[in-house]
C-alpha cells in the first residue's frame, strides 16, 4: 500500500492490486480468528472436564468408605478436596500451556483485537481454576492469582487479563458451587458443607453486585447467582429442618443414616 497515488478507475490494474492487499489482510485476520476460536473451544472443553472431574471426585462414593468413621469425617473430606484439587491442577496445566502457545498470536495490539474470540475459553478456565482454588483453600482466587497462572517463568503475563473475564468467570463459579452443595447435601457432613458454601456464595453475590454497573453481562449472571444462592439456602434449610426434629448432633444423625442404608 506504499503506492499512495489515487486510483484512476480507468486503470483497473491499480484497483485490483489494492483489493488484493485487502484480501490478503482480511484472509490473514480471518484465519487467525478461526485458529483462536478453535483454541478457545478446546480450552472451554478442557475446563469443563476439570469441573466435571472435581464434581465427580467430590461425590465419589468409593473413596468414602475408608474414612467413614465419624470422627475422621471432616479430616477425610479435607483430604479428598486436596486430592481433587491436585488432580485438577495437573489438568489445568495442560490448559495453561495452550495459553502459552497462543501467546504469539496475541502479541501487541492483537490481544484486544481477538479478545472476544479468546474470552469464552478464558472465562471457562477461570471458572475451573477458581473452583479448584475454592476446594483447596475455601477462598475466592484473586485477580493477581489468576494472572499469575497465565504468565511465563519470568512472571511476564502472556496477555493482559481483562477484568471482565475475571469477574464473569467467577460469577459462573457460583453455579458450580450450587451443584456441589446440592450434590453433597444429603451426604455425611453435608449440612456444614452447605452452610459454608452458602455463606461463600452469599458474599460473592454481594461483592459482584458492586461491579454490575461496569459489566453489562454481569447483570444477567447476577440473576443466575441469586437463583443458585436460593437453591443452596433451600437445600441447607431442608436438611436443617429435618434434623431439628431429633435431639441428636448432626454427626450422630449422619451415622444412623449410614448404618440404615448399609444394613
Amino acid at each position: 500500500m506504499s503506492n499512495a497515488t489515487a486510483v484512476d478507475l480507468r486503470n483497473r490494474g491499480g484497483l485490483i492490486a489494492i483489493f488484493e492487499e485487502f484480501r490478503d489482510e482480511l484472509d490473514d485476520h480471518n484465519d487467525r480468528r478461526e485458529r483462536l476460536i478453535k483454541q478457545s473451544r478446546d480450552i472451554t472443553n478442557l475446563s469443563k472436564k476439570v469441573i466435571f472431574l472435581l464434581h465427580r471426585m467430590m461425590t465419589d462414593d468409593a473413596s468414602d468408605t475408608h474414612t467413614s468413621t465419624a470422627g475422621l469425617e471432616d479430616r477425610g473430606d479435607r483430604a479428598r478436596a486436596f486430592k481433587a484439587a491436585s488432580r485438577a491442577k495437573e489438568k489445568l496445566r495442560e490448559i495453561q500451556s495452550i495459553f502459552a502457545n497462543i501467546r504469539k498470536e496475541l502479541e501487541g495490539d492483537r490481544f484486544w483485537r481477538y479478545q472476544r474470540q479468546v474470552s469464552p475459553g478464558l472465562q471457562e478456565y477461570i471458572e475451573a481454576l477458581s473452583f479448584t482454588h475454592y476446594l483447596e483453600t475455601g477462598e475466592l482466587i484473586s485477580f493477581g492469582g489468576v494472572q499469575s497462572t497465565l504468565a511465563d517463568e519470568q512472571g511476564t503475563p502472556y496477555f493482559p487479563l481483562p477484568l471482565e473475564d475475571y469477574v464473569l468467570g467467577l460469577s459462573d463459579l457460583t453455579g458450580e458451587l450450587m451443584r456441589y452443595a446440592i450434590s453433597s447435601i444429603a451426604r455425611r457432613g453435608g449440612r456444614n458443607k452447605a452452610n459454608d458454601v452458602c455463606a461463600f456464595v452469599r458474599n460473592c453475590r454481594a461483592d459482584f453486585e458492586v461491579l454490575t454497573p461496569y459489566f453489562k453481562e454481569l447483570r444477567k449472571k447476577q440473576n443466575v447467582t441469586s437463583q443458585s444462592l436460593q437453591k443452596i439456602e433451600d437445600a441447607a434449610y431442608a436438611i436443617a429442618v429435618r434434623s431439628s426434629e431429633y435431639d441428636l448432633s448432626p454427626e450422630m444423625l449422619d451415622d444412623i443414616v449410614t448404618r440404615t442404608v448399609s444394613s
Binding site: I185, A238, V257, T260, V261
Partner: protein, 223 residues
C-alpha cells in the same frame, strides 16, 4: 421447463408429503400407546409392591405392540432418511423408553441397557438408515425414569414400604454416576441431567427420614 423435468420434480416433492403424512399417523399411534402405558404406570404410586405384577402384566402387551408401530415406521421411512424425519417421533420414542425401563426396574431392579430396550421395542439394528434408537433418546428416557422414581420413593413410604427408598437410592446413584462420565454438550440433555440432582436430593431426604424414624429419638413426639 420441459414436462419431463417438471414431472420428475413434482414426483420428488409429492413423495415427501406422503411420507410425512404416513409418519404422522404412526406417531399418533405410538403416542396413544405411550399415553396408555403412562396412565397405568401412574398407578404404581398407590399400589403396594405385592400387587405390582398384575399391573405390569397389563402393560406388557402394550409395550410389545410398540414393535408393530416401530416396524411400520421403519417401513415408511425411505432408505437413508432417518435423520431427515427423526424429530417427528423422538418425544414419543423417549416415552416408550421410559415405560420400558420403568417396567424393567419394577420387575428386576436393574437398568435395561440400550440394546435391551431396542429389543423390547422391536427396533432392528439393521434398520439404522431408517429407524433407530439413538443414545440421546435412550438417555432422555432414563432421566424420566429417575424423575418418576423420586416420586415413587415418597409414595412407597406412604404405603408403608420403607425398603423401597433405600433400593431406589442405590439404583439412582448408580445411574447418576454413569451420567457424570458422559461428555454432554450444553443442550437439553445436559439441562435435564442437571435436574437429576434434585431427584437424588429428594430421595436422600426420604432415606434420611426413614432411617431416623426407625432409630433416633424425636425431639417431641407427643403425637
Amino acid at each position: 421447463m420441459d414436462s419431463q423435468n417438471l414431472e420428475y420434480i413434482n414426483n420428488l416433492l409429492e413423495q415427501d408429503n406422503e411420507v410425512r403424512e404416513k409418519i404422522k399417523e404412526q406417531v399418533a399411534d405410538l403416542d396413544k400407546k405411550t399415553r396408555t402405558m403412562s396412565g397405568v404406570l401412574n398407578k404404581i404410586h398407590s399400589t403396594p409392591s405385592s400387587q405390582l405384577p398384575p399391573l405390569l402384566n397389563q402393560i406388557k402387551p402394550v409395550l410389545a405392540s410398540c414393535k408393530d408401530t416401530n416396524a411400520s415406521l421403519a417401513n415408511i421411512i425411505p432408505a437413508n432418511q432417518f435423520w431427515r424425519w427423526k424429530e417427528m417421533w423422538s418425544i414419543s420414542l423417549r416415552n416408550a423408553v421410559f415405560a420400558a425401563t420403568l417396567v424393567g426396574y419394577l420387575e428386576s431392579g436393574i437398568l435395561l441397557t440400550l440394546p435391551q430396550v431396542r429389543e423390547i421395542l422391536g427396533i432392528d439394528a439393521s434398520w439404522s438408515d431408517r429407524y433407530a434408537l439413538p443414545a440421546e433418546d435412550y438417555l432422555h428416557g432414563v432421566i424420566s425414569l429417575v424423575n418418576e422414581l423420586s416420586r415413587l420413593a415418597v409414595n412407597a413410604v406412604t404405603m408403608g414400604n420403607f425398603e423401597e427408598p433405600i433400593k431406589i437410592s442405590s439404583f439412582v446413584k448408580d445411574i447418576f454416576a454413569g451420567f457424570s462420565m458422559l461428555n454432554l454438550k450444553n443442550d437439553t440433555l445436559r439441562r435435564r441431567y442437571d435436574s437429576l440432582k434434585y431427584d437424588i436430593k429428594k430421595i436422600e431426604e426420604v432415606v434420611y427420614d426413614v432411617s431416623l424414624r426407625k432409630l433416633a429419638p424425636a425431639r417431641s413426639r407427643s403425637t
